[in-house]
């Protein structure tokens, strides 16, 4: 793999940048692999990378129906944080956070992970109780965070309206300084480049049409271009399309695929240095290095694979953002888009064995998968390498929906006397 550095850029500038190597090959698939990963998004590529690099499994193919990193990786709002409530989730996301710290160096690819901090605002007494509860749990789990009052929030984000004029005035927030954002495309490309360098075949524009299952065991996949490609183990990391793949395996998942929309403003000069999220007014915002305000909110209520949602969701999102940041009123929305998020009933992922032997799924990340990309890839790679679920993945078995051991990150849903 060609090493990237500032010096390299200088050197290549003398040859007019004509000699850069390809970031990855464009291979024809082999007949058989040790592991096939279906889905070349961030999580799938991270899985392939760690399989090859950490667990020595290099006879691996990633099969992607479109282009690498073209699904939710390309469409998310890039927030990275690990301040989850329940131990199981917190440990998983913190595992990812630790990998984020140093990922650019590990991949020799600048994923622009920028730890500019994340505020989760509280607007009601119950919000503040929930924030206390979560931050306390985080602290005892070794995850950074503090509870701030409105005054402290105002100091961190001068442009936020912390006055009483708001319909739901800001009462405080949780603050995770290590949280931040990263450059989403670069994450996919960095993992892809790293995986390719370790010998992983990245097969793009190839749709898996069926899973080949013999005696209850998966033995490969079927594609239009290349026919059957065999494998000892198959890992599906296809986010919104997980239910479609599961159907090929003959089972259902506890998932619904919903549109999740996001939008950006036109680029403006730096005005918002941190990630600001509010569950109560239902919107969040950060500012990209390019200057765009990156804005998102919740899912649309219906199932949808159309990568678009309803305009009313956009309206509510912008109302929420203006409620938080009234001075953005004259800023303009440049572009909106949608992804397909696979939501789980307990707002936690599924990293799991399935009813089909040697078939594994990593899905159900819902609206928050990006932040877990390296961690998700790492624990899934470990599981695929050994054929046995990684310790951090165990609580996220799909079978928890049978025995009731949910990890309910929804928390209290605004019910109060």
């Amino acid at each position: 793999m060609q090493h990237y550095s500032g010096f390299g850029l200088l050197k290549h500038s003398f040859s007019h940048h004509e000699n850069w190597q390809r970031v990855w090959r464009n291979p024809t698939p082999k007949k058989k692999y040790d592991v096939i990963i279906v889905g070349g998004g961030g999580h799938g590529l991270a899985t392939a990378y760690y399989l090859a690099k950490e667990f020595g499994v290099t006879n691996v193919a990633v099969i992607e129906k479109g282009f690498l990193g073209g699904g939710n990786t390309a469409r998310n709002t890039t927030i990275v944080r690990s301040n989850y409530l329940w131990d199981e989730a917190a440990h998983l996301y913190e595992h990812a956070m630790k990998l984020w710290e140093g990922l650019s160096q590990d991949l020799n690819y600048n994923v622009m992970f920028s730890q500019r901090g994340c505020l989760n605002l509280g607007h009601t007494l119950q919000d503040m109780r929930d924030i206390e509860r979560r931050v306390n749990a985080n602290r005892l789990n070794g995850i950074d965070g503090e509870v701030l009052d409105a005054q402290q929030v105002q100091e961190i984000v001068p442009v936020l309206d912390c006055s009483d004029r708001a319909r739901y005035p800001v009462m405080g927030a949780s603050w995770q300084p290590r949280a931040g954002v990263a450059r989403h495309d670069a994450v996919a490309w960095g993992f892809a480049r790293g995986a390719d360098a370790h010998g992983v075949d990245l097969i793009q524009q190839t749709e898996v049409q069926d899973l080949i299952i013999e005696d209850g065991t998966v033995v490969g996949v079927r594609t239009a271009q290349y026919g059957e490609i065999r494998a000892d183990r198959v890992g599906c990391v296809v986010a919104g399309n997980s239910s479609v793949l599961a159907k090929m395996g003959g089972f259902e998942l506890p998932l619904e695929s919903h549109p999740l929309q996001a939008l950006v403003s036109e680029p403006i000069k730096p005005i918002l240095d941190t990630v600001v999220m509010s569950n109560h007014v239902h919107g969040y915002a950060s500012q990209s290095d390019k200057g765009d305000l990156v804005i998102g909110a919740g899912i649309d209520g219906y199932n949808g694979y159309g990568q678009r949602g309803s305009y009313s969701t956009i309206e509510h999102t912008i109302q929420a953002v203006l409620e938080m940041f009234p001075v953005f009123s004259r800023v303009r929305m440049n572009r909106q888009w949608g992804g397909i998020v696979d939501t789980c009933p307990d707002a936690c992922p599924i990293i799991s064995e399935t009813p089909v032997k040697n078939l594994f799924f990593n899905c159900g990340w819902g609206t928050g998968g990006f932040k877990a990309t390296p961690g998700s890839g790492h624990v899934f790679a470990a599981s695929l390498a050994k054929g046995e679920m990684h310790e951090l993945a165990k609580p996220f078995s799909m079978f928890r929906f049978h025995n009731g051991a949910l990890v309910d990150e929804h928390g209290a849903a605004g019910v109060a006397h």
Binding site: R22, L140, E266, I268, K269, S329, R330, M333, L406, D408
Partner: protein, 1014 residues
């Protein structure tokens, strides 16, 4: 550089003496970069700047190269301005080509230091630019790890265009919901013909156009219709359309989004096109939300510039834009023009330039043998035409000074002869036209490449959508008119209306020869070494950059776009994308359709956040719900708490009281005498029908079969998973009649819950649900003197014997018919008085009139929380979080496992994980030091010295200072807590303290419940 010596008098050196659609009698003064200029009514900011000879309107994003105006409409990538006369009215990133000029307009460029004319960053760009190929930032800034955020600070400062205001927006914005038969997007020839046709057939029509007046391309054309200037036909049609009541005409209105089921959004500029801020009583912009039966897209086309060396030097423009400035605004943006074209149509620009009295240096046509009406017209004027050639490079820094022209080979991909240099200050170029298909893509349709017109046209759609004119690649006026008419006739027919014959005007007959597929003009050097050839001006994406991206393996057009940032600007690649795709296709040795296109998303052009939010901010962000007694609470100094949509009194501080003082006073007064709570916000659902009782038994965890009329009962509501989600008291009003109460925030959810089970699972049950929350005002008097107080103003018998605990009765209170419930959330003798809401305030005041002798004390939600916690009563949402079932809460008494019907939640709470003995269970917590109040949300551990991560056993859900008990009290979850009475839990806090507490029964006061039974 000012480039004219032809005009005289005014500053407007590039303004023609006559012609155009501007009003020379109305001079407007505006400020640009601190200097005053003049323009005319009818100008855009861009045309006025060009009239005044302003060449540089911005600096490029990456290389800080000087940039000028290149286009005349929505596709303009460079002239992005900061507009606003005051701090509060700043608007970032206004496209000068779309901003009408008004008197007093203040605009400035968004970057360049110390000025846009002399930008020191240009030198950085020149030197460092070589090290900044696409994606360079992925390859560097990695070492040392800790430095990235420092590098990033500088990257951020350099990026961004304009700035947000620092003050609140003084303007307001409206929304309107519109319904129509036919929504026509674009009021050019196709759109106008369609509108007239549909209107004559009696359809309800909305026609919107982004420009300040209708007419589209005809406004800047020298074509004739019926032998008269085309604009006369436009005027006639607009006049005629205005006579129809059912036709809404929206100029200055961009259709920005086309959503599913024919829902479109239009941003109408009401005053912001004409004023810095909206005059009193007017809105700056209005967002129309349109539901159309049929949509006709007549959105036209954007001309593509050609990609050649240094094609970004000010003075390089899109050919048609030059014509527009001449014909519509009477502005000739230079003296010596070179026109570079691959098609006939662009010859019009040379003709217009020539006819304006300026010098056409040459027409450079990439084709070997152009023939046609316009070519002939150029020849007639004696204009030099250099065929089979291309402009390969441009000289000049802040303005074009000359061009290099070279013969090209047949394919147009190699220079095939020696270079000729010519002096010129303006280079107009045309590589053909790209249909404006943006809206057609918004609902997911994939565009289709059309080789005949060298552009993408709209793909198949499931929307009720028709298209007409240039969007289909029908670029001639004649064809546009015809397609407009025929699309409207189709719509009319589909709507079931009767078609009316419409006469179209006679157009000029023009013959044209075939255009050449040319996007990127070759240079003598390979692209990587040639002068920069810009594809996307705003993001500094060059042909070399696209080739490099492809070479590095970014082969999908989406990868190319993302790696180079092509099309990510505020113009969203309207000018550059097709050129970029063509260059990528060539590099990858593919056809353009193989390479494909990226997908356009809303918005077509950027939309003000304020307009999208409309009025729904501040107090209107969510409705505020008040109880009937709200004014009393305000008068008595209550602090309020947001509970759902409700504003509930939180506590009532008296002068100089701290919150804790007030709570102590309220708590003690209630337990010692009597307190009163406004409980109107509790959800109330009236349930009737012969199966109402059966239904209750199914949705509540406890038994309802035997609740007699006149009695009340507490119930827990669980999901199918067995987890508690709401609770409340339900009273039996009659054999088939119940009143259910819910939590204040949960009322709507509970009602929908009841309905879904009734309608989908048990439709055979005869039961009806009606929300009556707002119908009743509810006031709870609680405390040992509550009966005495009530007796003073009721005609009912509320004595212990006649009205026991959990009884309810009708009676008059303060002369008003009331339902009085003897239920208690404080553990005291309590009466909940319900009266018709309009009488609420009257009864409330009457209670106070009679309550003085008992020191009747109003209390809010906080005291309610303390009093109930003293009794160990839960609050759903505070002591539950969707992951606890009744047994976890120690409420096994409220679960009737033996009910014949398997109630909702029963099966769920018996799953393997739900019957674990070490589940987190709700218990009371007594701090060892009674003066210390545990913080709510504190996490408990059994071993405070365990290393991080510490095993946690559960959190504190409710915790208060109890003035009545003179100690702190708390409730919280502890793993296996119900079996751990008397054991210790430790709470390590953020401030370093570790609070020790003992697990206890959560009923802290009156464990036998004697106080409520008096």
């Amino acid at each position: 550089m000012t480039s004219s010596s032809h005009t005289h008098g005014s500053q407007q050196s590039n303004r023609l003496q006559d012609g155009g659609r501007i009003d020379r009698s109305k001079t407007l003064t505006f400020t640009y970069n601190g200097k005053q200029y003049k323009g005319y009514a009818g100008d855009t900011l861009a045309s006025a700047l060009l009239a005044n000879g302003v060449d540089i309107v911005g600096r490029s994003f990456k290389y800080s190269r000087p940039r000028g105006i290149v286009a005349a409409g929505a596709e303009e990538p460079n002239a992005i301005m900061q507009v606003g006369a005051t701090e509060a009215t700043q608007i970032p990133n206004v496209r000068a080509t779309q901003q009408s000029l008004y008197d007093g307009l203040v605009a400035g460029t968004t970057n360049g230091w110390p000025s846009v004319e002399t930008d020191l960053m240009e030198y950085v760009g020149k030197v460092g630019g070589k090290m900044m190929p696409p994606g360079f930032y992925y390859k560097t800034f990695m070492f040392p790890q800790s430095m990235w955020e420092t590098y990033e600070t500088y990257i951020r400062k350099a990026a961004g265009l304009g700035r947000a205001p620092k003050e609140r927006d003084p303007d307001s914005y409206d929304k309107m919901n519109q319904h129509c038969d036919v929504m026509i997007v674009g009021a050019g020839p196709a759109g106008l013909a369609a509108a007239l046709t549909a209107a004559l057939a009696g359809a309800r029509v909305i026609i919107a156009d982004e420009q300040s007046e209708f007419g589209g391309s005809l406004l800047s054309s020298t074509e004739t219709l019926d032998g008269k200037p085309a604009s006369e036909w436009v005027t006639d049609v607009v006049k005629e359309l205005a006579t129809f009541d059912d036709v809404m005409m929206l100029p200055n209105s961009q259709v920005n989004g086309y959503h599913d089921h024919n829902f479109l959004t239009i941003q109408q500029h009401c005053t912001d096109q004409f004023a810095d801020r909206a005059p009193n009583g007017q809105v700056a912009q209005r967002l129309h939300r349109v539901r159309a039966k049929w949509v006709i897209l007549a959105t036209g086309a954007h001309e593509r510039p050609l990609v050649f060396g240094n094609n970004d030097v000010p003075g390089c423009m899109v050919a048609n834009a030059v014509s527009t400035y001449i014909n519509r605004y009477g502005v000739v943006p230079g003296n010596d023009l070179v026109l570079m074209t691959s098609n006939d149509n662009a010859y019009r620009t040379a003709l217009d330039w020539h006819d304006a009295g300026r010098n056409v240096v040459a027409i450079v046509d990439s084709r070997k043998n152009p023939q046609g009406t316009l070519v002939d017209a150029a020849r007639e004027r004696g204009i030099t035409i250099m065929v089979g050639s291309g402009v390969i490079d441009v000289q000049g820094g802040k303005r074009v000074t000359g061009v290099s022209i070279a013969p090209l080979n047949d394919a147009g991909d190699e220079v095939a002869g020696s270079i000729v240099k010519m002096k010129a200050d303006t280079v107009a170029s045309s590589g053909g036209w790209s249909p404006v298909i943006h809206l057609s893509c918004h609902t997911g349709a994939r565009p289709v490449w059309n080789d005949d017109i060298l552009g993408f046209t709209p793909g198949a759609t499931v929307q009720k959508q028709l298209t007409a004119g240039a969007i289909n690649g029908s670029f001639s006026t004649a064809q546009a008119l015809l397609e407009g008419l025929s699309a409207a006739q189709d719509a009319v027919q589909l709507l079931g209306l009767t078609e009316v014959e419409v006469a179209l005007p006679v157009t000029e007959e023009i013959t044209e020869s075939k255009a050449m597929a040319l996007f990127h003009i070759p240079h003598t050097k390979p692209t990587a070494k040639a002068p920069k050839q810009f594809v996307d001006y705003q993001n500094d994406v060059t042909a070399a950059g696209i080739e490099l991206a492809c070479r590095e393996g970014f082969e999908s057009i989406e990868h190319v776009k993302r790696y180079t940032a092509m099309g990510f600007g505020t113009d969203q690649g309207k000018l550059g994308n097709i050129n970029g795709m063509a260059i990528a296709a060539k590099t990858l040795n593919q056809t353009i359709p193989q390479t494909g296109t990226t997908i356009f998303r809303p918005n077509y052009t950027p939309v003000t956040f304020g307009a999208i939010a409309g009025r729904d901010c501040g107090a209107l962000f969510d409705p505020e719900r008040y109880t009937a007694m709200h004014s009393w609470h305000v008068e008595h100094g209550a602090k309020f708490e947001d509970v759902g949509l409700w504003k509930r009194p939180w506590y009532y501080p008296k002068a100089n009281e701290t919150m804790q003082d007030a709570l102590n006073r309220e708590c003690v007064a209630t337990r010692e005498s009597v307190g009163i709570l406004d409980a109107s916000t509790l959800g109330k659902i009236d349930i009737q029908g012969k199966d109402a009782r059966e239904f209750l038994g199914r949705v509540y965890s406890n038994a309802w079969a035997k609740l007699p009329i006149g009695k009340c009962r507490y119930g827990l509501m669980c999901g199918e998973d067995g987890m508690v989600f709401d609770d409340g008291v339900t009273s039996c009003l009659g054999e088939n009649h119940f009143l259910m109460t819910t939590t204040s925030g949960g009322a709507a959810h509970v009602l929908e819950w009841l309905e879904i089970y009734h309608q989908t699972e048990w439709p055979e049950l005869e039961v009806y649900f009606t929300t009556v929350t707002d119908h009743w005002a509810t006031m709870t008097i609680s405390g040992p003197n509550s009966r005495k107080l009530l007796e003073k103003i009721t005609d009912g018998d509320v004595s212990k014997d006649s009205m026991g605990f959990m009884d309810w009765k009708t009676m008059k209170v303060a002369g008003i018919p009331a339902r009085v419930f003897r239920i208690s959330f404080t553990g005291e003798l309590s009466f909940e008085i319900n009266v018709q809401a309009n009488y609420g305030l009257h009864v409330w005041k009457a209670l106070f009139e009679h309550g003085e002798e008992f020191n009747l004390t109003p209390y809010g939600t906080e005291t309610m929380h303390i009093l109930r916690a003293e009794k160990g009563f839960i609050i759903a949402g505070q002591d539950t979080d969707g992951s606890v079932h009744p047994f976890d809460l120690g409420l096994s008494w409220a679960v009737a496992m033996k009910k014949p019907f398997s109630f909702i939640g029963k099966r769920g709470m018996q799953r393997e994980d739900c019957v674990r003995p070490d589940r987190k269970q709700l218990v009371g917590l007594k701090t060892i030091d009674p003066k210390v109040v545990l913080p709510e949300g504190a996490q408990g551990v059994l071993d405070p010295n365990a290393p991080i991560p510490m095993p946690m056993v559960g959190h504190v859900t409710s915790s208060y200072w109890s003035a009545n008990l003179n100690r702190s009290i708390a409730m919280g979850f502890v793993k296996g807590g119900l079996e751990k009475m008397g054991e210790k839990v430790f709470y390590p806090l953020a401030d370093g303290r570790v609070i020790e507490a003992e697990i206890c029964n959560p009923v802290f006061l009156d464990p036998k419940g004697e106080r409520q039974h008096v």
